[in-house]
């Protein structure tokens, strides 16, 4: 970790001005920044502390939807009764993320921006080559230890998995990211690696996340998050799915369905092909099973992660059935 200057911002405006300077990072909960600084991935010259800024940790739920301030802590959002009731997938995704200690510290804005667990990305001293860190330098993961790497949304330059849980639920529920004076749909906020894996999101220098909003909907109210992982707690997803369903009045025909996928893609992944295949269909096991296979259309494995192509549709299928069975 190299020396850096520390600025305690007194307002969002000041934070934005400071953040526009080169080699500057914002500090909120610090759970990602400190971690990445310790392993040498992030070496900011300036750290701008926004953790104390007033008015950025609001959680508000009304008939239109949820407003969650960027500095709201993961645990507070997860435990919020109105969130649990109107957006259960959001609460569940947070409860199943990280550890209690991290959830107490980490903020919602920072959670969205957490970076991949790719071991090659995280060890610059040993692996100088990483297109995400040093554009054009190469990718060590393509033929390396890649059991946890992505099978969807990959490119020849990067197969690093987006590690988060919350964003998977937010993708399914069509949340909107607020960047002060503009907003970005969450599916547009996260970028595919393509030939520019160093660019992970649509923020410009000097922008910061101020809030996310989630529109209320019947599908959001009947939603769930299913996470499959190697151990029961404190572990990233092998594959996960956030599913929200709205039924026709008959209670079995799917009017609306939203599916987000986690642990298998380079960004929080919307499984639109599965949604399209199921809209207007009855929620029957065989239909669900075959539609769920569409979740991994175009998936590419690189050896150690081949199992994800088999696992992901099974997780989607189970999550749909579970959501359908919700009271």
């Amino acid at each position: 970790m190299r020396d850096f200057s520390y600025l305690r911002a007194s307002s969002v405006e000041e934070a934005r001005r400071a953040a526009a300077m080169p080699a500057t990072m914002l500090l909120a909960g610090g759970t990602t920044l400190v971690d990445l600084a310790k392993c040498g991935v992030t070496e900011p010259e300036r750290v701008v502390d926004i953790s104390h800024l007033k008015g950025l940790d609001t959680i508000r739920v009304d008939a239109q939807g949820a407003y969650i301030g960027a500095l709201a802590k993961m645990n507070r959002v997860a435990a919020d009764a109105a969130i649990k009731s109107a957006f259960p997938a959001v609460s569940e995704s947070l409860w199943q993320a990280a550890s209690a200690q991290i959830r107490n510290m980490a903020t919602i804005g920072g959670n969205l921006l957490q970076r991949t667990r790719c071991a090659y990305f995280r060890d610059p001293a040993t692996f100088p080559a990483c297109n995400k860190r040093v554009p054009g330098s190469g990718c060590s993961a393509l033929e390396g230890v890649n059991r946890g790497h992505a099978v969807l949304g990959t490119s020849d330059d990067c197969i690093a998995t987006y590690p988060g849980d919350l964003a998977v639920a937010l993708i399914a529920l069509e949340a909107v990211v607020h960047l002060g004076d503009r907003t970005v749909a969450i599916d547009d906020f996260f970028l595919l690696p393509g030939t520019t894996p160093q660019k992970e999101h649509a923020m410009q220098p000097g922008e910061l996340i101020t809030a996310i909003t989630i529109p209320a909907s019947p599908a959001a109210r009947r939603s769930t998050y299913l996470k499959v992982r190697d151990r029961q707690s404190y572990e990233f997803a092998a594959a996960s799915a956030a599913v929200g369903i709205e039924f026709e009045p008959d209670g079995e025909t799917i009017r609306d369905i939203r599916i987000g996928l986690g642990g298998v893609a380079t960004k929080p992944w919307r499984a639109r092909a599965v949604e399209d295949a199921l809209r207007g269909k009855a929620i029957e096991p065989d239909i669900i099973k075959s539609a769920s296979r569409l979740a991994v259309e175009g998936a590419v494995a690189h050896g150690g992660n081949h199992y994800k192509i088999e696992l992901a549709p099974r997780v989607v299928e189970r999550a749909i059935l579970k959501t359908g069975a919700m009271a």
Binding site: R117, A119, G144, V145, R147, V228, R231, S233, Y307, L311
Partner: protein
């Protein structure tokens, strides 16, 4: 001879103070944070060292450019092979005399990724860390042989002393009506204790003080003394508490030499803390193993032959044996047996000891194989174990001292409800969860080294026990207080135990699950000697109220001395000490045999493992035994395995403190669950590097992964095994957990996973 006879022990709470379920007496200090661990000391002027490791696995260091680091603020020294002061090679832990060549803690020839090549010492840890990143190393790289699966690794070389054979295993196998043959594999596994490794080294003239977590104060002190060519007494090592070792804190390390060299060169105390990634390469964990096991049997399942071939990885220049024949050679009776083992050198750090080295993978092989044989011949996995029960040690041809494995099978099966098991694989189910029951046995030998202890009776009637033996959480402080309290006859609260300091009486390595037995033996002996002296004074001193009594009629209970004629509450020890003018009674005793009561043998006993007795030395074969019954739930779609419940029945002989022994057992079982389902060092073959070298990626169980664990003690006191009747505890319970889970997974799914860990992709 002692004045009072030792009471007969039953191995349960009825034994009194020793044998009681006392909580750890060091617990409150640890919970409140007042227990200072070795590296939580801050000697004046302390500076910080950070080690630089190789980022290639094979080749040569061409140059180290330290200019930028040396210019960095706060940097005091960039230590490299070229400027480090020369030190000597030390005697190794077996006592083999060292070659007369210098010992170089830094490598010039690189044989594994993560090898120490230089260090930066600076005023602060942050400065040292930042400067270390500025050191530029250029290499001449060669292609590494990263694992024993690389064809270039070859077959390795045989370790003849591991060969065990009787009968004609090959011939008997060829004519056996039933034959099975499979390969079983365990990956590289790592100790990863929560307390990081490291040390603080401080020189005062030619006296070296080391605050370093250590499972073996005296062995490590000897090494430091020999490295720097100073008398053994000049090394003071302090290790009052240890935050987990599991075998990884028993031997001196290269970074230890680096810190002591830097401290000497700078004449400042140097703190060197190993980073979490370095805990995967600064010392070794369990090497990867593979075993081919062929079993020949009758159609009824009676074993006719066991043919076993095992390999473990070792480093390029070291012999590190993970004894794979240790359990397979004694668990079952067979008329024909052959076990051989090869070591395969690869570009890895020298493997080290990790909880039950040898027994653990050995049991994984045979306990899975016997399960496979049970299905092959169509009998219950528990019945096949009873059918082939070894009534005596089939390898050493000696009777067991005690082997309560049959009792363990019965008690465990009953408590678990084994009889409710549907024998057919994939036959039990709860919704999407496939249910499987599995069983496997385990064993760990009783190793014996003489111990030493000082017991003092102080003028205020309290007792002091002192030893350089250590407590890494297993309960040494507590059981030694219990031992002394019972032997003398005082309340346990009045006993103060001092451990983990090389200035105290000697102790051998806290490894091989031997420490509790040898230290209770030594403390018992010293405490009885102190008691004898106290009673002698009470009888003989002119000022003693008991001066007219016969020696053997005095008793001491609850800290009060009384005679049979005395109908009152007796007289407190402090009062007797006061009246007789004694300020202390001191007894230093060891349990070395008479012929080794000399300075040279004494030193050798405590600073090498040369005098450690094998489990079969003597008339009996001495082992602890256990069996684990497991219920797993495997998600039919996801392949995720969860342990739903476990019952383990264990024979560790007499338990000095059942609460602490159970805690040790449960710790081993939890570690076994991690081994079965999670733990695996993932090696990138191209670079010979362990990629998941941190606790975010090298998975160990969380609380959520562990169900309620039921442990049942079926042991009885075994005085062939130890003076007070205990057998091995600490390393026993991990043995057999992984095969029990693998067998349960097979029962649940019909899929036999023979390579650990059992991760979901192996089941979908």
């Amino acid at each position: 001879m002692t004045i009072v006879d030792t009471k007969i022990k039953h191995g349960d709470a009825s034994d009194g103070i020793l044998g009681g379920r006392l909580s750890r007496i060091d617990g409150p200090a640890k919970i409140t944070g007042s227990a200072d661990y070795a590296m939580e000391h801050f000697p004046e002027g302390m500076v910080h060292a950070v080690i630089i490791d190789s980022t290639i696995a094979s080749g040569r260091v061409l140059a180290i450019d330290a200019a930028a680091a040396e210019a960095y603020p706060g940097v005091l020294l960039v230590l490299t092979p070229d400027n480090a002061i020369a030190i000597k090679t030390a005697t190794d832990w077996t006592g083999a005399p060292p070659p007369a060549v210098p010992f170089e803690p830094f490598a010039r020839e690189i044989t594994f990724n993560g090898q120490h090549i230089a260090a930066v010492i600076a005023e602060t840890f942050e400065q040292a860390t930042a400067a270390a990143a500025l050191v530029k190393v250029t290499y001449d790289k060669t292609v590494p042989i990263s694992t024993f699966d690389d064809p270039r690794a070859g077959e390795g070389y045989p370790i003849d002393m591991m060969t065990k054979e009787w009968g004609d295993a090959e011939a008997a196998l060829a004519t056996s009506p039933v034959r099975i043959k499979q390969e079983y594999r365990t990956p590289r596994e790592y100790n990863v204790p929560i307390e990081p490794h490291g040390l603080i080294a401080q020189w005062t003239g030619d006296m070296l003080t080391l605050w370093e977590p250590s499972q073996w104060i005296d062995g490590m002190s000897r090494t430091y003394a020999e490295w720097f060519d100073i008398p053994f007494e000049n090394v003071r090592m302090l290790s009052p508490y240890i935050g987990g070792g599991f075998g990884s804190k028993a031997l001196p390390t290269r970074y230890g030499a680096v810190a002591a060299i830097a401290a000497k060169m700078l004449d400042r105390p140097v703190k060197l803390a190993i980073t979490r990634p370095q805990t995967f390469t600064a010392f070794g964990g369990r090497p990867a193993t593979r075993q081919t096991i062929a079993l020949g049997a009758t159609r009824e399942g009676k074993l006719l032959s066991i043919l076993h071939r095992g390999d473990n990885e070792t480093s390029m220049n070291d012999v590190a044996v993970e004894p794979l024949g240790s359990v397979i050679s004694i668990m079952y009776a067979t008329p024909n047996f052959s076990s051989r083992q090869n070591l395969v050198p690869v570009n890895t750090v020298k493997p080290g000891a990790l909880r039950a080295p040898g027994e653990n993978p050995s049991a994984f092989g045979i306990e899975c194989a016997i399960d496979e044989l049970a299905y092959e011949v169509g009998i219950d996995p528990l019945d096949i174990r009873l059918l082939n029960y070894a009534e005596e040690d089939p390898s050493a041809n000696k009777p067991w001292s005690t082997r309560r494995l049959r009792e363990a099978y019965a008690a465990g099966a009953d408590a678990f409800g084994w009889a409710k098991r549907n024998p057919r694989p994939r036959s039990m189910r709860d919704g999407k969860q496939l249910i499987g029951y599995g069983v496997a046995a385990g064993t760990y030998p009783v190793r014996r080294t003489p111990g030493e202890a000082m017991v003092r009776i102080l003028s205020n009637g309290t007792i002091e026990v002192a030893s350089s033996g250590i407590d890494m959480g297993q309960g040494t402080y507590t059981i030694l207080a219990q031992t002394a309290a019972e032997a003398i006859g005082v309340p346990v609260e009045t006993v103060m135990v001092k451990l983990g300091d090389s200035s105290l009486p000697r102790a051998p390595v806290a490894g091989g699950s031997q420490l509790a037995n040898l230290m209770t033996g030594a403390v018992h002996k010293a405490a009885l000697a102190a008691r004898d002296e106290l009673i002698g004074i009470a009888i003989n001193h002119p000022n003693s109220p008991f001066r007219d009594l016969q020696a053997n009629t005095l008793t001491i209970e609850a800290g009060r001395i009384s005679s049979p004629r005395d109908t009152g509450a007796g007289i407190g020890i402090a009062e007797v000490m006061r009246r007789t003018g004694r300020d202390r009674i001191e007894a230093l005793r060891n349990t070395l045999p008479e012929e080794h009561q000399n300075a040279k043998d004494h030193f050798r006993n405590f600073t090498t493992i040369a005098t450690m007795k094998s489990p079969t030395e003597g008339d009996y074969s001495l082992h602890s035994w256990c069996v684990h019954f497991v219920e797993v739930r495997v998600d039919v779609d996801f392949g995720t395995v969860r342990v739903a419940r476990m019952v383990s029945a264990l024979d560790s002989g007499r338990l000095y403190n059942p609460k602490l022994a159970e805690s040790q057992w449960k710790g081993g079982i939890i570690m076994g669950i991690g081994q079965a389902l999670l733990e695996e060092g993932l090696v990138d073959d191209r670079y010979g590097r362990v990629m998941n070298n941190n606790l975010g990626d090298y998975l160990v169980p969380t609380n959520a992964d562990i169900p309620d664990l039921k442990v049942i003690s079926v042991g009885i006191p075994d005085t062939h095994a130890s003076v007070l009747g205990g057998k091995a505890v600490g390393e026993l319970a991990i043995v057999g957990v992984a095969p029990a889970i693998a067998n349960a997974v097979y029962h649940a799914t019909g899929v036999r996973v023979r390579n650990l860990p059992i991760t979901l992709e192996k089941l979908i």
